[in-house]
Symmetry: C2
Subunit: 178 residues, 2 copies
DNA sequence: CTTGCTCCTCTAGCGACCAGAGCATCTAGG
DNA sequence: CCTAGATGCTCTGGTCGCTAGAGGAGCAAG
């Protein structure tokens, strides 16, 4: 017998899927699924005799959960917490509420920062006379080491970290930034 | 003579700085300055006899330019282009205009995406009854594999790449995300 | 001469994956 | 039964823009 569910007993689980089908079903790419297993977001999976992973409906739900959470910009650690909370439905949801609220605050300050960015970029582009570089507002603005909207001090702390990517991929073919 | 500018001749350059002082003056951190040299954003610098880098006013301007461009979210390749444009003031500024406009478009679609995010997070948090996890709107929303605002298909292409960090660091002590 | 600071190079790591090599396994058709 | 092609496996290394730390050398003041 080469399948997990016996051939004579009625299937207890409605057909576990191999990783490729699980990827198509969940919208999470194959290497990413394996990555989630590696870092422990997904459990160690049951395998076929040929060592291939099998994904049950429960696993697919978990993948969809992770995917949705990633789309909302939660980082892996937050998702780890949210998943353990999900597994214990009798607990208080204060923790998950806090995680979501924190993310909301993050997103809002990020929007505010981006709006300031937008304004300065707009000014740069509007001011460009489409002549040559010597009078270009874009280059001039960048060269100007006077103040601008955001880095009014010497860049002390805008509350902006280096690795903050707001919205993750799931975009498949896009590799270039944004 | 241990300094580049002679002691009897009048200084042709108003005192080049060592890297630490250059970092303080430009707001770019020491390892980051070295990194910029390594990747060719900064030129190979003149050194003292003791092999220490020396930064002239021109170098400091270049660092400030890079810093400001990074604050506006331009990536290294864009900055490389902008710098070569700056070095040739007689050229057309069409290229720099295009780079800035592209960035502006990026920022705007990013803001739009974040606003959708904000809305869904808000709904999640508002819906949380602060009871236990079983009825928690946060967990429920994440678990729900039906549609939400953004991933209405199966996450084909939101125009959102994986490595898109909008606003870089210069924040010094912050290492955690955002 | 020593202390303590700055500087040097080099290597490794972050987050959240993606790409590809080299091999094994499965499945459909002949 | 055999084979071709799709799919799976593990492992290594790359992405971006830095940051951290080791281990050593230079340098200015006391």
């Amino acid at each position: 017998m080469s399948r997990l569910s016996s051939d004579f007993l009625p299937d207890p689980v409605p057909d576990p899927l191999p990783i490729g089908a699980a990827a198509r079903a969940s919208g999470v790419k194959v290497p990413t699924i394996r990555f989630y297993e590696e870092i422990g977001l997904m459990p160690a999976l049951p395998r076929t005799e040929g060592n291939r992973r099998l994904y049950s409906a429960t696993h697919l739900q978990r993948l969809a959960f992770i995917r949705h959470a990633r789309e909302l910009g939660f980082d892996i650690e937050a998702i780890r917490t949210l998943l353990t909370l999900q597994d214990r439905p009798e607990q208080s949801c204060a923790a998950s509420d806090e995680i979501a609220s924190a993310r909301l605050i993050e997103v809002r300050s990020r929007i505010a920062a981006l709006r300031a960015l937008e304004a300065e970029l707009q000014r740069m582009v509007d001011g460009c006379a489409h002549g040559h570089v010597a009078q270009c507002r874009v280059i001039e603005t960048l060269s100007d080491h006077g103040q601008c909207q955001f880095h009014n001090g010497q860049g002390e702390n805008l509350g902006i970290g280096r690795n903050s990517s707001d919205l993750p991929s799931f975009s498949g073919t896009m590799t270039q930034r944004f």
